[in-house]
Amino acid sequence: MGKKELKVAFLLALRSLQRGSRSSVILTVLIVAMCFTNMVFLPGLFNSIGQVITKQVVDYEVGDVLVSPKSGEQYVTDLDATLDLINSMPGVERATPHYSKAATLKYHQRIVGVTARAITPNDEKLISPLYSKMVAGSYLGDSDTGEVIIAKMIAGDPAIKEEYEFQASLGGVRVGDSITIEWANGYTKDYRVKGIYSTGWWSADTTVYVTKTDMEQVEGKTLDYADYITVRAKPGYSQKFIKDELQQYGVAAKVQTTQDLLEKSMGRALQSYAIINMVSLIVGIIITTVVLFIVITIKTLNSRKQIGILKAIGVDKEVIMHNYGFQVIILALLGISCGVIMTCILMVYMAYNPIVTPDWSASLYLTPMDLLSNSLILFTAAVIAGYVPAYQVSREDIQSAMRS
């Protein structure tokens, strides 16, 4: 197959698309574009959900690395020494302990059960963006006592009646109001609401934060232990590096990266996402393959006589086959290009109008490599789908073709 033959095949293909049925070309391109969009939409959405959840978990739950009690123990003990050790390690931005306790909030006639978390506010700033999520009032200071920050969802909206609330709230607490907290150990105290925040992460938005000093009052003793320690890595240091380092330094606790935790907690969900992605990919490929197969089959069936004539006047069967092959290549390239454009438009649209749930807000997260790999898969499937009928018809006997 020489250059001249390919040139003639390309000319025939181009002219057929340019001067043939325009509606058929547009429809085919649109179908390929929709198939491409369908192929990448769900994986893109799940990628985005995964990214958002991972970020929220890192930001509001465990940091990059979680140091939790050893098996059989309730707390991470010898807290100050452990924190000093971790904070002195290279690659560690900051480590901070969390200590949580069940509590009941009371405000006027409203009662809400929550988890209250004790933090060291200034250290927490280096771990979590919570301080930047204040919608009213201000964030806690290390020396604050008798003050709490609560989530907007817990503070509530006075305009919404209790029976219509999705999440139980205090019915409209404002900054400066006093709320009563009844702790699980029976200790009860009034606290001033210093700030109200909203993170968009369900777990954080159903929590009340107090200072470690306040929690020590609740417990009636110095807290030299914690439920766990969250560790933030400096930019450029991987979670794995920090984990290995902590283990090498002999931190006497269980050390896990966020990735380890997510794989355990969300392994099933990730597997399900992978299955859905695979189904979506296969469906997209099948639809494109079938559509292009049908389009080219119809084209070849309608052109059988012309194919016979071309062969009769000395056009080689390879030229005829590549003519249809080039048509499929052009249709697939146009369709995939339209699909990429449609996907990019969707990405921009969803960046401004994300899908919002109490746990996450997701848009479309697709890397150039995702777009490229899906394009190549679809392109390959399309070319195979087009070449099969093209190959068949180009092998047909001249007489049978001309008689049709």
């Binding site: 025939l12 002219r15 000395g314 056009v315």
Partner: protein, 238 residues
Amino acid sequence: MIHIHELTKIYHMGDVEVRALDGVSMDIAKGEFLGIMGASGSGKTTLLHMLGLLDDPTSGEITIEGNDIIHLTDYEKTMFRLYKLGYVFQDYALVPDLTVMENVSLTAMLRKDRTEQEIIESSHEVLKKVGLFERRDHLPRELSGGQQQRVSIARAVVNKPDILFADEPCANLDSENSRMVLELFKEINEEFQQTVVMVSHEDWHTEYFHRIIRLRDGKIISDGFNGNTKKPHGPGAA
């Protein structure tokens, strides 16, 4: 130039055996304008298709310029058609999506012995000859039947083939256009000494042929030269 010996073609239509050609033997000389005539079903198109390498005989021999064409491979037959033969079909058989110029130059573009400049020049030359140079950028559907057939002739002769086959080229044309087409064949035959083999069932076409072969039921019933036309050179003239 063309030697045919005991050519037979049998079609099977269910259990029925149809002898489309039944032991046809003849020679065609170079430069001859041969008319193959006969009633519908006499085997004239089948014979043309055998000579043009469009179909294989059941038995018999065909040699063109000493080449046994029956036993060529599929690719060799394609190349033989491209380099040696030209075809004009009853229904013009132009590629509808190509312009007149593209239709004419299509086969020339496939030949390895033609430069782009030569292709353009030869296409322009034949289009001028058939009187359609001004319409070279039109699509076939924008032309009349007679004009389309002239494009088809231009396509067939652009490579200056040794033999030109025409299968009832005037069947869809009125008498004025038919005469124009036949004049073209005559000019091509005389000017380039190309052998022309044409199938027809119109008696008045015989005035253009050097030699007329009449078929009936797959057999030659008459083979003679036309006294009104200039006889060609070669064995057929003997």
